[in-house]
Amino acid sequence: MRFLALIFSLTTGVSAFAQEDFNVAKINLSLSDQANAVVRISETSWEILSKSEAKRRERTVVTILNEQGEDEHAQLYVQYDKFTKIADISGNLYDATGKLVKKLRNADIEDYGYGIAGDDITDARIKVAGFGKKAYAYPYTIEYSYESRNRNMMFYPRWMPASDTETAVESAVYLIKTPAGFNFRYKEYNGAAAAGKSKDKDGADLYLWKLENRPAGNRRDSYPLPVMEASPMVLTAPAELELQEYKGNFNSWQDLSKFYYTLNAGRDVLPASTQAEIKNLVSNAKSDREKILLIYKWMQARSRYVSIQLGIGGWQTIDATAVANKGYGDCKGLTNLTLAALRYAGVTCYAALIRAGEEARIKADFPSSQFNHVIACAIAAKDTIWLECTSQTTPANFMGTFTGGRPALIVMPEGGKLVMTPDYKEHHNVRTRRTDIKLDANGDGQLSVQTSYTGLRQESRKSIMHSGNKDEQKKWLVNQINLPSLDLERFELSDGNGAEPSVIEKLSIKVRNCATKSGTRLFIKPNILSTYYELPGITERTTDFYLPPADYDFTDLDSVSYIIPDGFKPESTMPSATITSIFGSMESSAVYTKNTLLCARKLILKGGRYPASEYANWIAFLKKVRKADRAQAVFIEKVD
């Protein structure tokens, strides 16, 4: 009965529950306990009218429990563009007893352009609705609903009703209604319950997903899983679609690839002057690899990135001639220009669709439009060379945290498929450091440090090297160095030589109290510069945990040599440690010979997803590493 009532409510846009009761007292305490807000009702309906059009309805009723909940839920944001028409935004506000106290007026809805900066050109807009002028006593309940018509059928709504961990969900439903026998695709993830299928009285097909009584998650999880891995989710996509004059189907990655190919075909013609430039540029190149590197450098040196999202242009590139003439474009435009140049030079190459961003990944088992970026993929003999065309400084084939280690869809007329981009593991992300320290009898030290960074580890340094001025670089470095106080006298950041990108950092630092002088002793830290890993506040957990590879896949190699001032001799035994674990390993040691204390440290960490049962081991491992890093060597004044 409830099921039917619900469908009725979704398809008419009017609440069918004669007596919906939003009294806060009705909320189960186990739901609201750790939450900032509770979603009482969340209804999403996607009514597919044809291959080219659908109607979307959203209705949410949220009880706001505190200020954080208010910040998160008090306003409604609805984005739209040339393909989307918004109608009927309405809202109600109820007090704690569930009594209606206010209705949303038109004046409470504002409309803004989506892009503010000059390099963000878009026709996307956003409507913002809220009851913000007045303060309401917590808890209170807000209801919003709206309807939209959509003519961009590349994207069916993704349903992820519990993505905010600090919000509990009492009831959420997703309904898809299609003409009888209409074919589309869907898949459930992360424990989302399977769809219930039925027909309405007119014979239309109905698919319904539900989520009920999900409490708020852990407030400050130190190691949260990426939301795409943790939160119940349903992905949906068309089997076939029509977008303006384009027709396609999305049944496989190959189909998607073909659709994008069609959308962008014939836009890669270069102006004659550019053709001449390319011809000249590669005239002495001996291999495809050489051509690729030359063309990539050429493109980087003559272009810059500007975000352009206009109409179908959000998915269709600006033609290569326009980009060549203006010297700027978005990711599609710049990639298209690069590909056009490569093709002109006779190199085999493709556009590749990817989901960019740290930790951003597509679900490879569900072909659908999950991408937000385009890169170029060039073939040199048996090697693939990936090119990020929106950066002027990234070396060829370096994908890093932005696009590395994930599937990309190669765009081809036939046979397009997912291919993995280069991944960066602990043996790629290496920091090698040599530190020479001259101590005086007061414990003050003069440090000379040379470090090389590779893989993901060089990204932040490369970025500050390319964008910061001397003062900014110095400030940044001082904040990176883990010493109580220091005077960075000189520094130098430079590109390393070698095939893989690297940064060489040279520092000259004066450190007061480098070794702690206490009475007649000197307390010396073999590990002086490497940062400590903090212990998390929470010591137990019941869910899997995640150590992001960008932070936790690495190798540290340290060698530190202290020249001990005359008149001191070692008092304690020299510290050393060997630790191994599934999370990595550590070896550290210190040896004293001829007034010199030589310390070595090697730490390897392996990030990724680990089961909850390993959490105690992780904490134990961290503690051991911290202990080894804290170890001191004690020297005492010699008594003659």
Binding site: G118, R220, K326, P484
Partner: protein, 686 residues
């Protein structure tokens, strides 16, 4: 309404423009003195739009800062006034920028967005026109100029009231010089003052020039701030043609140039960058409308006071009180003393009205409306508090002020724009109180740190206003205590730990943790006391008595495998340790400004195992900053097998000059050093 104005020229006293570095420089620009000598050799720079010199293209880096991502070669603004039939007097601002791109990260400077008013009120509409743009490159040693294509200028509607013109200059790469210019027309009915002109930015500026020509019927006050000298400072009397004969006549033309301004880099412990940047600000002093006489705006402090008093959004609000009668009567019947009245009124408004997070001298939509909405800006809340306190027959008056983020209050320049906040002031016999009811967890008489910014202006009901120093009795105070025992058998330090948060530490704690589950604080405490096993955590006085401290207590155990038979090292500052110096830069050119004073105390008692003692007792240490500005005291005492450690860091002064920077840094340095020193403990041999 749109008819422009006429007047007689106002005459201003002239204060000499000083050129000391590291001093506040304030410039009164006089209408009287023309040709005010600039004292510098007249080295001038007048480029031509659309033409570039080869040298600018050939330079690969900027010699004064070789790592700068870009250099602004020329930043020019020329402000004029003109008459428009429909809009009346409009400001016409010609802007012209020329930038050398030195690094890839600066390429986005070739993307420009200009937002302008385009609301429903036609006469207020702004316009951007004469937009031109060029990119210059050196290709094969030839200067190649690419012009901005008009078709690639986009115009987007941003909101109901604003539109944005966006353009991207073509063919920009590392080494290019970009240039664009445009004119913006702004009716005086939309904004009465020219925008503040900054001579400095986030990259070096080689030449920043601002010109303004003011017709006789307008009078502006101009103030300068910052640390850079003017290269050209010129003014002359000229004939001004605004395009309408009635308003043409003698006027004044100014030209200001700052040369070779270094990039401005933000430092910690400053109020706001606007207090340190080189800039020029404007305030309208008067408009003379023909037939309507002269409309004066704030010119002396008395006039500023009067403007405020007469403004509906300020003085007018203070004269409305009907909505507060009910609560007034209620307080009157229960409160027994004036203090009690004050406290009850304060707590009432504090609880009743929610702060929307905005500052404000005046109410936006009326205090009454905000009161009914139970939500408003600082002015809505504090004006209703002041009204209520006056209704209760207390001697209560508003104090208008400038918050830290709004910048230093310049007492020498009477300007309404100086202020962005208002609080209440109560005088009760000998006692004075500052009241701000925006903070949910501040006790009566406590000002938020944002508000502590030197001076405010007290505006009594009758009589003259005066400046009053915003002093706080509260500081950031924290007391941490440890009573522990050292257990060699188990290799543990175990005992109790307590922490009391007072003053601003208490306010900050309550603001952060009061409205969320306690588990969050527990997690944070575990993060602060790494490696500790914490049990039996009790938090007292979370918000029962806001005058009292927040008190946290727990039991703890800490494994320490350095605790070995025979002898061991112990770092006695186990909590509240100053692990690093908050002042990192070696040098500093701006003054230091801490929000409030601080007092961090740490007391620990350690019970050593029987037969163990300090190998040597460290000498006590006392470090003081001059004039009692700060003090650090550290002492270790031994009594039998008990060791007591005392550490106290206090900072009384909150403002230090750049010259004092090294002393303050050294002061913190000594704390950090002391706190890192372990004690050596040995088994007694006899």
């Amino acid at each position: 309404m749109n008819s422009p104005f006429i007047i007689s020229v106002m005459i201003y006293p002239l204060t000499k423009f000083r050129r000391h570095r590291r001093r506040w420089e304030i410039l009164f620009v006089s209408f009287l003195l023309f040709g005010f000598s600039n004292g510098f050799a007249q080295q001038d720079f007048k480029p031509k739009l659309g033409y570039i010199d080869r040298e600018s293209l050939e330079t690969a880096f900027y010699s004064a800062d070789s790592t700068a991502e870009a250099v602004v070669l020329y930043d020019y603004g020329n402000l004029r006034f003109s008459y428009d039939e429909n809009k009346g007097i409009v400001m016409l601002m010609d802007s012209w920028v020329r930038i050398k791109i030195l690094k890839e990260s600066a390429l986005s400077r070739a993307s420009v967005a200009l937002t302008y008013y385009d609301g429903s009120v036609r006469v207020k509409e702004e316009q951007i026109y004469n937009l031109k743009g060029y990119t210059y490159n050196l290709d094969n040693n030839q200067i190649v100029t690419s012009e901005l294509d008009k078709k690639s200028i986009k115009n987007e509607k941003f909101s109901d009231e604003y539109r944005t013109t966006k353009f991207n200059l073509p063919n920009v790469k590392k080494g290019s010089v970009i240039e664009y210019s445009y004119t913006r027309s702004t009716p005086l009915s939309l904004r009465t003052e020219p925008n503040t002109w900054r001579f400095q930015g986030d990259v070096p500026y080689k030449w920043s020039e601002y010109r303004i020509t003011i017709p006789y019927f307008l009078e502006y006050k101009m103030t300068m701030g910052g640390y850079l000298p003017l290269h050209i400072n010129k003014q002359e009397q000229i004939n001004v043609d605004v395009g309408f004969s009635q308003y043409n006549g003698q006027g004044l033309s100014y030209r200001f140039v700052v040369k070779d301004a270094p990039a401005f880099l933000n430092e910690p412990f400053i109020t706001t960058e606007m207090d340190y940047l080189s800039l020029i600000r404007f305030e309208l002093a008067s408009i003379a409308v023909p037939g309507q006489g002269t409309r004066r705006f704030s010119q002396t402090w008395d006039q500023v006071d009067r403007t405020l008093d007469q403004a509906t959004w300020f003085g007018g609000e203070l004269r409305k009180s009907s909505y507060l009668k009910e609560i007034r009567d209620k307080i009157n019947t229960t409160a027994k003393s004036p203090e009690e009245k004050m406290n009850m009124a304060y707590v009432y408004i504090q609880k009743y009205m929610k702060w929307d997070g905005y500052n404000g001298v005046g109410s936006k939509e009326g205090v009454r409306r905000a009161y009914d909405n139970k939500k408003g800006n600082a002015s809505d809340i504090n004006l209703s508090l002041i009204t209520l306190l006056r209704e209760l027959d207390l001697d209560c008056n508003p104090v208008v002020l400038s918050t830290r983020s709004h910048g230093r209050l310049i007492q020498e320049i009477p300007m309404l724009e100086n202020f962005d906040y208002v609080i209440g002031h109560v005088k009760m016999g000998e006692n004075e109180y500052f009241l701000d009811a925006t903070q949910s967890y501040a006790k009566p008489g406590m000002l938020p740190e944002q508000v502590l910014n030197g001076w405010g202006r007290l505006l009594p009901k009758k009589g003259d206003g005066k400046f009053i120093e915003l002093v706080s009795k509260d500081i950031k105070s924290k007391l941490e205590m440890i009573n522990a025992e050292i257990d060699l058998d188990e290799g543990l330090v175990k005992g109790t730990y307590s922490i009391s948060y007072g003053g601003y530490e208490a306010l900050n704690w309550r603001t952060e943790y009061n409205d969320i589950p306690e588990s969050q604080y527990q997690d944070d405490l575990k993060g602060y006391l790494q490696e500790w096993q914490i049990k039996n955590l009790v938090i007292k006085n979370k918000n029962d008595d806001l005058k009292g401290t927040v008190n946290v207590k727990c039991d703890f155990e800490l494994e320490d495998d350095n605790l070995q038979e025979g002898g061991f090292y112990l770092n006695p500052v186990m909590a509240g340790r100053w692990g690093s110096n908050p002042l990192k830069s070696k040098e500093r050119i701006y003054p230091l400004n801490f929000n409030s004073g601080l007092s961090h105390s740490y007391v620990a008692n350690f019970k050593l195992p029987e037969g163990y003692a300090l190998e040597e007792t460290p000498t006590p240490e006392i470090v003081s900053l001059v004039a009692k500005a700060g003090r650090f005291a550290y002492m270790v005492q031994q009594n039998g097998n008990m060791i007591t450690v005392n550490s106290n860091v206090t900072l009384t002064k909150t403002n230090f000059s750049a010259e004092e920077y090294h002393d303050v840094k050294e002061f913190f340095e000594r704390v950090v050093q002391r706190h890192s020193k372990p004690l050596v403990i040995r088994k007694k041999t006899n």
